[in-house]
C-alpha cells in the first residue's frame, strides 16, 4: 500500500561504498550527541532487518572524504541480555550485515571507572578503535581530572575529548577519522575476565592521572526532594499532569488550526471545481487525507519536545524509578508509563514514545497495549453514544450517570491496556530469559536546545515520511467506497429523492455506495452485536479516524446536522431482516458499540505507525487481529449483559 513504509531496514544504498564507522557506548554516554554533531540533519532512521530495533545511520564529512556513520544500540557490555544488544553484537561480528570498518567508543568521562570495562571488551574484538571521551567539561567542573594523552598511551588507542552537544572536539574527531586505517591498536589486548579487568582499569586510571569527579551537589539536593517517597511522588504526579495537559490541551487548538486550514482549503476547492465528483475527490479525499496526516504533527512534536526535555534534564530516569514497581505489575518497566500516558491523547505519539524503552520485548508489549488506552479520537464517539444511552439527568449518588459511564470507559481502556501488556510480555516469547532491569541515574544536566530540536524534527519527519502514505491512501479509498458509484441527478429524482435537500442526497449516495455493499456483506458477522448495515458503514469509515464515525452515521441517517446526529439516530429503525421496524439504537446495541470502540483498532494511522516502529507487517497485523476479535467478543458480552439488565 505504501512504498515509503517498506524502505526501513537499510540506509540508502550509496552509503555502502563508504568506510563504515560505528558508534558504540553505554546508554547516557553521549553517543547520540556525538552522532548528531557528526551527521547533523542528514541522519536516517530505520530498523534492523526483522527486529524491532531502530537503526540510526548518516554520513559525515571529514576533510575531503565521506564516512557512513551508524549509532549502534547502547549497552554496558557485549554479552547480550536483550534483543537490542544482540543486534549490537551481530553488527560488530558482521553477522548478517557488513561489519563496521572502525569504531568510535563513546565514554562518559565522569563514569570512567565503570566505562573502561566496556572499552576493554570492545578493544578485545580487534577492530580499529578510537575512544571518544564525552562530558569532559562536567568532569572538570566537578573537580575531576584526566590526562587525555596519558589515557591514550595507557589504552593503546587514540582518545579524543569532546563536549558533544557544544560541538567542542568534533573537528579534532573528524581529523582523527581521516587516519582510521593507521589507528594504533593495543599491544596486549586488555583482559576480559571481570577480576583481571578491574586491576587493568585501576592501572589505566592511575597512569592517566584520573581524579574522580566530586558528587554533583545540585543532583544530591534535587534528588532528596524528587526521589523522596512522598514529596517525589507528589512532584511526579504534578509533572505528569502538566505533561498530559500539554500534549492533550495545548495540542488541541493547534490541531484545530490545522483542521480549520484544511477545511478552508477544501471549501475553496469546492467553490472552484465545478464537477461535484472531482471536487469531492480533491477537496474531501485528497486534502482531507493530507490534513489527516498533518493533524497528528502538533501532538507528536509537543510530545517529543517534552520527552527529550525530561530525558535531557535527567528526570525521565527518576520518573521510571518512581513508577517501576507499578508498571512491573504489567511486566513492563517504569519508562513505559510515559508512552501509555501519551496514548490517552493519541496512540500515534504514544507508540512513537516506546522508542525510549531499551528492550524490544517491552516496546512490543507497550505498542500492543497502547491502542487500548482511550485516545482523544474516541471522545466524540463516546459523547454521542452515551448521549443516546443515558439520560443526561440520571444520577448515581452525587455523580451524573453520563460522566460515570465515560469514566468507566476510560478505566476499561487503562485496565485492558495493562492486561494486554502483561499478556504480551508473558506469552510473547516464553523461551527467552526475562531481561534484567537496571537504569543509570545520570546527574541533572541542562539539555542543549539543539539536541531537543533534533529530536522533535526527527520524530516529525520520520512520521511524515513513513506514515503519510498509509493515512492518505486510507482516506482516499474510504472516500471512494462511500461515494461510488456515481448517481446522476435524474437518476436520484427518478427514485423520488428530493435533490434540493442535501441531507437526502448524501444519504442516498451513501445508501447506494460500495461501502453500503460492504456493510451489508459483513452484516452476518456484526448481526449478533445488534449492528445493522448502516452502523457497519460507520464502523468501516472510522478506519481512517475514529471520530469520522459520528459524521458518517449522521450522513447515513440523513441528519440535519451530521456532526450532531443524536435525534436522527434515535429515530433510526432496522430497515430489513427479522428486526425490521424496531429501533436500532437500543441500550444493548449502544453498549455493544461503545465496547467495540473501546477495543477495536479502528485507526489505520496506528497500524501504519506500528509498522514503521517495528519494521515489519507482523506486529500491526497481530494488533489488528487480536483487537478486532477481542472487540467483537467484549461487545457481545456487553450486549448480553445489558440486555439482561434492561430486559
Amino acid at each position: 500500500m505504501s512504498n515509503s513504509c517498506h524502505e526501513s531496514g537499510q540506509p540508502a544504498a550509496q552509503l555502502t561504498q563508504l568506510p563504515q564507522v560505528a558508534l558504540v557506548g553505554a546508554p547516557n554516554a553521549g553517543k547520540t550527541s556525538v552522532f548528531n554533531a557528526l551527521t547533523g540533519l542528514k541522519a536516517k532512521t530505520g530498523n534492523y532487518p526483522g527486529v524491532t530495533v531502530s537503526r540510526f545511520a548518516g554520513t559525515c564529512r571529514a576533510g575531503d572524504r565521506k564516512f557512513a556513520v551508524e549509532d549502534l544500540p547502547g549497552s554496558y557490555g557485549l554479552d547480550p541480555v536483550s534483543l537490542d544488544e544482540q543486534v549490537l553484537v551481530d553488527v560488530l561480528d558482521g553477522d548478517g550485515m557488513r561489519a563496521p570498518d572502525a569504531l568510535l567508543i563513546v565514554v562518559d568521562a565522569t563514569t570512567l571507572r565503570r566505562s573502561l570495562g566496556f572499552v576493554a571488551q570492545v578493544l578485545a574484538r580487534g577492530l580499529p578503535s578510537c575512544v571518544v571521551l564525552s562530558f569532559t567539561d562536567e568532569l572538570l567542573r566537578r573537580q575531576g581530572a584526566v590526562d587525555v594523552d596519558a589515557l591514550s598511551q595507557a589504552l593503546g588507542v587514540p582518545v579524543v575529548a569532546v563536549v558533544g552537544h557544544r560541538g567542542h572536539g568534533i573537528a579534532e574527531l573528524r581529523e582523527q577519522l581521516l587516519d582510521w586505517r593507521d589507528w594504533p591498536t593495543p599491544v596486549i589486548p586488555p583482559p576480559v575476565d571481570p577480576g583481571e579487568r578491574d586491576a587493568w582499569v585501576e592501572s589505566v586510571l592511575s597512569y592517566a592521572g584520573y581524579r574522580v569527579a566530586q558528587p554533583h551537589g545540585l543532583t544530591r539536593r534535587l534528588d532528596a526532594v524528587l526521589l523522596h517517597p512522598l514529596l517525589g511522588t507528589v512532584v511526579f504526579f504534578a509533572v505528569m499532569v502538566l505533561f498530559f495537559q500539554t500534549v492533550f490541551a495545548l495540542a488541541a487548538p493547534l490541531q484545530g488550526g490545522v483542521e480549520a486550514f484544511f477545511g478552508v482549503l477544501s471549501e475553496w476547492v469546492a467553490a472552484h471545481v465545478t464537477n461535484p465528483w472531482l471536487s469531492g475527490l480533491l477537496g474531501d479525499a485528497l486534502i482531507g487525507g493530507v490534513g489527516g496526516v498533518l493533524v497528528f504533527l502538533p501532538q507528536i512534536m509537543l510530545l517529543f519536545l517534552l520527552i527529550s526535555l525530561l530525558e535531557g534534564v535527567g528526570y525521565m530516569s527518576r520518573a521510571a524509578f518512581l513508577m517501576d514497581r507499578v508498571m512491573g505489575r504489567a511486566g513492563l518497566e517504569g519508562r513505559a508509563f510515559v508512552a501509555l500516558l501519551s496514548s490517552f491523547a493519541c496512540a500515534i505519539p504514544g507508540i512513537m514514545a516506546t522508542r525510549t524503552l531499551p528492550s524490544a520485548k517491552d516496546r512490543i508489549a507497550t505498542m500492543m497495549a497502547a491502542p487500548l488506552v482511550t485516545c482523544a479520537a474516541r471522545l466524540p464517539v463516546y459523547v454521542v453514544l452515551i448521549g443516546l444511552l443515558v439520560d443526561p439527568a440520571a444520577t448515581f449518588g452525587p455523580f451524573g450517570l453520563q460522566g460515570l459511564v465515560m469514566f468507566g470507559l476510560y478505566l476499561l481502556g487503562a485496565v485492558s491496556a495493562m492486561l494486554a501488556a502483561w499478556a504480551f510480555k508473558k506469552f510473547g516469547d516464553r523461551r527467552s530469559q526475562p531481561t534484567p532491569f537496571y537504569l543509570e541515574m545520570p546527574p541533572y544536566r541542562l539539555p542543549s536546545p539543539r539536541a531537543i530540536l533534533l529530536a522533535v524534527w526527527g520524530a516529525a519527519s520520520s512520521f511524515l515520511r513513513k506514515c503519510s502514505t498509509i493515512i492518505v491512501a486510507t482516506t482516499m479509498v474510504l472516500w471512494l467506497l462511500l461515494n461510488l458509484p456515481l448517481h446522476s441527478t435524474e437518476q436520484m429524482q427518478a427514485t423520488g429523492v428530493d435533490t434540493a435537500d442535501s441531507a437526502a442526497v448524501s444519504a442516498y449516495v451513501v445508501d447506494h455506495s460500495y461501502a453500503a455493499e460492504v456493510g451489508r456483506l459483513v452484516a452476518p458477522v456484526f448481526d449478533p452485536l445488534g449492528f445493522d448495515w448502516r452502523i457497519n458503514v460507520g464502523v468501516l469509515s472510522a478506519q481512517s479516524a475514529r471520530e469520522t464515525f459520528v459524521a458518517t452515521l449522521g450522513q447515513v441517517a440523513a441528519a440535519e446536522d451530521p456532526e450532531d446526529p443524536g435525534d436522527a439516530l434515535r429515530a433510526m429503525t432496522y430497515s430489513d431482516g427479522p428486526r425490521a421496524g424496531e429501533p436500532v439504537f437500543t441500550a444493548p446495541t449502544i453498549a455493544a458499540l461503545l465496547v467495540y470502540f473501546a477495543f477495536a483498532l479502528q485507526c489505520m494511522a496506528t497500524v501504519g505507525v506500528i509498522r514503521r516502529e517495528t519494521g515489519t507487517w507482523r506486529w500491526p497485523l497481530v494488533a489488528f487481529g487480536y483487537l478486532t476479535v477481542t472487540a467483537w467478543l467484549m461487545a457481545y458480552l456487553a450486549r448480553t449483559v445489558t440486555a439482561f439488565f434492561v430486559g
Binding site: P229, F321, L439
Partner: protein
C-alpha cells in the same frame, strides 16, 4: 553459574567472612555500605556478567542511596556513579556490610 565464579577479588584480600554472611544487596537499607563478594544468577551467566559490567565486581564497595516509594527498585552508588536495580537483580549480588 555458581557463586564461586567471581570470588577472586582484585585486592587479593581474603573473603572468609563471606561464608558466614549470606546477605545480598537487596537486604541492605539505604545509606548502608557493603563490599561485593560474588555475583550469582542461577541459570543466566549473561545476567551475572552484566551485573559485573555495571560495576558489581568482587571487592567493589557499594552504597545504598535510596528506595522507591513502594520499596522497589533501589538506587546504588557503585564505581563513581548511580544505578537503579530491582530487588530481583540486587539479590543476585552477595555482599558483606562494611563500616564507612
Amino acid at each position: 553459574m555458581t557463586s564461586r565464579t567471581f570470588e577472586q577479588g582484585t585486592d587479593g584480600r581474603p573473603r572468609a567472612e563471606a561464608r558466614y554472611d549470606q546477605r545480598t544487596l537487596a537486604d541492605l537499607m539505604p545509606t548502608a555500605t557493603a563490599q561485593v563478594v560474588s555475583v550469582s544468577v542461577p541459570g543466566s551467566p549473561a545476567v551475572a556478567r552484566r551485573l559485573a559490567d555495571l560495576g558489581f565486581t568482587p571487592g567493589t564497595v557499594v552504597r545504598v542511596l535510596r528506595r522507591a516509594p513502594l520499596r522497589d527498585p533501589l538506587i546504588y552508588q557503585v564505581k563513581d556513579y548511580e544505578i537503579c536495580l530491582r530487588r530481583a537483580q540486587a539479590s543476585c549480588v552477595n555482599v558483606v556490610e562494611v563500616d564507612r
